[in-house]
Each structure stands twice: as structure tokens, then as C-alpha cells.
């Protein structure tokens, strides 16, 4: 099967990207040095092609009511136009079908951004649920939109340099808020732990914007840097840190689940029935080496597993997110099975780094 391509595929190759198969998409993993790209985003400005992610528009008078039952977070928190909400969409067993961002645009128009690898499954699920509850709304995937994430402390000044017409509409955006500029939507969101924006725009206009941003100093950054940035920022990656068999309550996402009495949403009953036995924690490797996903963690309270691990360029150390038994506490020392060795790691509270700075003690 041939790989799917974003509208920027040829430009990535021209800019020297190393391309990889990312869930069926031909995507840039880096343009040379992943660590340099990571540091550029922490210290200056980088840009990512995230056009493989899928925008799904939902319109109709019944949209809010439909979303209330569809996702685990509470869309009634969305009051101001442009405001965004991060949520999980659960199956009846309380497992995570996907994590997504919902933008409230008008009372009859919400926009959702879902992960690339789960997009088809997500849309099918949404349509099935809408049908079953006779929801008064229409669900429309928008594959004709591209998305470029501009991230880093200089992200906005770079965007405004390239798009001066967007400044008035976006300079007062709060985090997790979006505004339209013509057909383009600029959201103050991202997946790096830095300030910045994710710009959704027609696919045909993506290359022009990418080149202008590059000329203005935004460094192209690949999925490799995106992964180390989000790991340092303590943000979950779907398929790695949680999936259909994982409860959000055991994936560090309890803060996104609104269990206010009387609220009904798919998966709620299962969440309330199943005892929470595991928790997400951060690990800082004390020995030399690199923590990786699927490595086993030995604790005084039983075994756990690393869900995401890597070298953290901002900290110059190896870190991980791990699912471990409830009872393991911040500050505990645990052992991680790395090949034929047991390495020592300290349990820490994540995020590990955001806004250019380490947030954990390294000694």
C-alpha cells in the first residue's frame, strides 16, 4: 500500500527531510538533527507539518448536546467563541478511542481535531453515535485542510511577520483559544510545551505559508523533535500512553474527565465501576542509558511499564512516562529493566520541561 502524503511532502524532501512511515503517512522525522530541532523550538521557533491530523467539523443545533454525551470532558466549559477543550472520546468499556481537541466556534458549529492514525475510526464512531441518538448535527471530515504548527517563544512574532493581517485577531488569544482569519483558523495550541499556534488552512495554501515561515526564520522540525518535546512537556501520545484498553484515569488524564453528578457520557459507567489500580508517573533515569517504551519497571508495589521514554534534550538526561501501581510515590527509586541490566530511576512529577526550562530537579 502506498503511503499517504500531506500537501507539503515535496517541500519536506526539498528541505532535506528524512522521511518515515508514520501510521501510513510519509512524514518527516527530522531535517538533519532531531536534537537541534528540539532545542530550536524550546529557544526560538520551529514549525511542524501536522496535516496528517484530521479536522472534523460538526454543525447543527444539536452539536453541543451530542458532544456532551460523546466525550469525557464537559463541552459546557466552552462558553467563549474560539475556546478549545482537550478531551478523550471513550468506548463503553471506558477505554480511550482517541484524544482530541474540540473548538467551540458558534452554537451550531464546533470543530474537532483528531489523531491521524485513528481518524477513520473516530469519524465512523462519531457518525454511528450521532445516528443512534438521532443527533441534530452533521459530521464532516475535512481532509482538504492542512495544518502547520508554529511553536516556540518566537512563534507568534514570526507568524505576525508573515501574516500581518492575522495580528489583530490573534494577539489577544489566550492559551487554548482560536480565531478565524478569513478561511484560516489560528489556534493558540500545540504539542511541545511552548507557546505557539496551530494553523489550519486549505491544502493548496500550505506550501506558500511554509516557505514564508521558513524565510522568516521558523526552522522545519520533524516528528522526532515533536515526540521529545511532547514527552518533556508531559503530554500523552495516543497509542503509546493510552489506547482502547486503557482508562483515562490510569493514563494521567483524570483532569480531563468530568464526573459531575448527573452528566451522562459514553464510558462513564465503566469508569465508575472499575477500580483505579495504576497511575502515570514520570521517571528520571539516574544511571546511564536511555529509557524506552515497553521497558518493565520494578517497584515496591509491583510491576509497571514505561509507556514513552527517550533522551530529553532540554535536560540532557533520559526520562519516561510510566504506568505503575497505585502506591508508588514521587521521590521513590525504582528499577527499570534495560536489556540485561536493572537501571535505577527516580519517580518524578511531570511535566519535565516547558517554556524552555527544566521543571524537575536533576540531581
Amino acid at each position: 500500500m502506498s503511503l499517504k502524503q500531506t500537501p507539503l511532502n515535496a517541500v519536506h524532501r526539498e528541505m532535506g527531510a528524512r522521511m518515515v512511515d508514520f501510521g501510513g503517512w510519509d512524514m518527516p522525522v527530522n531535517y538533519g538533527s532531531q536534537i537541534e530541532e528540539h532545542n530550536t523550538v524550546r529557544n526560538s521557533v520551529g514549525m511542524f507539518d501536522v496535516s496528517h491530523m484530521r479536522v472534523v467539523d460538526i454543525r447543527g443545533a444539536g452539536t453541543r448536546a451530542f458532544l456532551r454525551g460523546l466525550v469525557a470532558n464537559n463541552v459546557d466549559k466552552l462558553k467563549e467563541a474560539g475556546k478549545a477543550l482537550y478531551s478523550c472520546m471513550l468506548n463503553p468499556a471506558g477505554g480511550v478511542i482517541d484524544d482530541l481537541i474540540i473548538y467551540f466556534l458558534t452554537e451550531d458549529y464546533f470543530r474537532i481535531v483528531v489523531n491521524a492514525g485513528t481518524a477513520d475510526k473516530d469519524v465512523a464512531w462519531m457518525q454511528q453515535q450521532a445516528k443512534e441518538c438521532n443527533a441534530d448535527c452533521v459530521i464532516t471530515p475535512k481532509p482538504e485542510l492542512a495544518m502547520i504548527a508554529v511553536q516556540g517563544p518566537k512563534a507568534w512574532e514570526t507568524v505576525w511577520q508573515v501574516l500581518p493581517q492575522a495580528k489583530a485577531a490573534t494577539e489577544k488569544l489566550k492559551p487554548f483559544q482560536a480565531a478565524f482569519v478569513g478561511e484560516w483558523m489560528l489556534a493558540r495550541t500545540g504539542y511541545t510545551g511552548e507557546d505557539g499556534t496551530e494553523i489550519m488552512l486549505p491544502a493548496a495554501e500550505a506550501e506558500g505559508l511554509w516557505r514564508k515561515l521558513a524565510a522568516a526564520g521558523a526552522a522545519p522540525a520533524g516528528l522526532g523533535a515533536r515526540d521529545t518535546l511532547r514527552l518533556e512537556a508531559g503530554m500523552n501520545l495516543y497509542g503509546q500512553d493510552m489506547d482502547e484498553d486503557t482508562s483515562p484515569l490510569e493514563a494521567g488524564l483524570a483532569w480531563t474527565v468530568d464526573l459531575t453528578p448527573g452528566r451522562a457520557f459514553i464510558g462513564r459507567a465503566a469508569l465508575e465501576q472499575n477500580p483505579v489500580k495504576r497511575q502515570m508517573v514520570g521517571l528520571l533515569l539516574l544511571d546511564k542509558g536511555v529509557l524506552r517504551g515497553h521497558q518493565l519497571v520494578q517497584t515496591a508495589h509491583g510491576a509497571g511499564e514505561i509507556t514513552s521514554g527517550s533522551f530529553a534534550p532540554t535536560l540532557n538526561r533520559s526520562i519516561a512516562m510510566a504506568r505503575v501501581p497505585v502506591g508508588v510515590a514521587i521521590g521513590d527509586e525504582v528499577k527499570v529493566e534495560v536489556r540485561d541490566k536493572l537501571l535505577s530511576a527516580r519517580v518524578v512529577k511531570y511535566p519535565f520541561a516547558r517554556q524552555g526550562k527544566a521543571l524537575i530537579a536533576l540531581d
Binding site: 528524512r18 522525522v29 527530522n30 538533527s33 532531531q34 536534537i35 522526532g224 521529545t228 546511564k288 542509558g289 536511555v290 524506552r292 527517550s310 533522551f311 534534550p313 533520559s318 536489556r339
Partner: protein, 129 residues
């Protein structure tokens, strides 16, 4: 592709240089470091360790992935480069300068059976398809 003609190679992307004293120096190729990306961890075998040909004996880890390094020939480890353990990025900067370990071969002629530069180039090209 940077494949010096005076070195020998393995299909698993190690390079081998025969030294004047009969020992052989081992590292990973420029192609291997390019595939792995930014190096962040190197673990070399200890001096004195006896290696069989093809045995896993060292590890290199980039941000992206961990990769085993194999003994190109049988022999005893006589030296390991602590500089690349302290600064793994040296391998990215100069894969053929940043050697990893030295072996005293059990049989000096074993080196002759390794790939030459042309053979290694063909091997890399076949992997790209």
C-alpha cells in the same frame, strides 16, 4: 556516501581497521550513524572480554532508537574508547574517527573475509530497495 576504501566492513554496519600492531579497531559506519541520528548513549565492551564473531558486544543509542553493535571477528577486547561513551555525538561528527573498541584477533586472517568498501556500498544500496 562516505565509505573509505582503506577499511573493511560488516553487513551489520561496523567498520574495521587493521592497525600496525595486528589489533583491529571497530566503529560504526557513517551510514549507520546517519540512519540512527543524534547519538546519546554508547556502551562499549570491557577490556579483556573474549568475543565470538557476530556476538553482540556494544550498544549505541540515538534519540530515536537503540542498536546493537556486533563483533566483526573473534578476539579479545584490548581497549575501548571512553571518549565516545562520554560524548556519543562524536560518532555523528566523524564516524570513522570516533572508534569504539579494539580487538586482538584470534585469527588475523579473519579480517580478509569481511566486506571491502565496494562490497559494503552494494550492501547499503541493496537495503535501500
Amino acid at each position: 556516501m562516505n565509505i573509505p576504501s582503506d577499511l573493511k566492513y560488516t553487513a551489520s554496519h561496523e567498520w574495521v581497521r587493521v592497525e600496525g600492531d595486528g589489533t583491529v579497531t571497530v566503529g560504526i559506519t557513517d551510514h549507520a550513524q546517519d540512519l540512527l541520528g543524534d547519538m546519546v548513549f554508547v556502551e562499549n565492551p570491557a577490556a579483556g572480554r573474549k568475543l565470538k564473531a557476530g556476538e553482540e558486544c556494544a550498544v549505541v543509542e540515538s534519540v530515536k532508537a537503540a542498536s546493537d553493535v556486533y563483533a566483526p571477528i573473534a578476539g579479545e577486547v584490548v581497549d575501548a574508547n571512553s571518549d565516545v561513551e562520554a560524548s556519543p555525538e562524536l560518532i555523528n561528527q566523524d564516524a570513522y574517527g570516533a572508534w569504539m573498541f579494539r580487538i586482538k584477533p584470534d585469527n588475523a586472517a579473519d579480517v580478509d573475509a569481511l566486506l571491502d568498501a565496494a562490497g559494503y556500498k552494494a550492501q547499503v544500496e541493496s537495503e535501500a530497495h
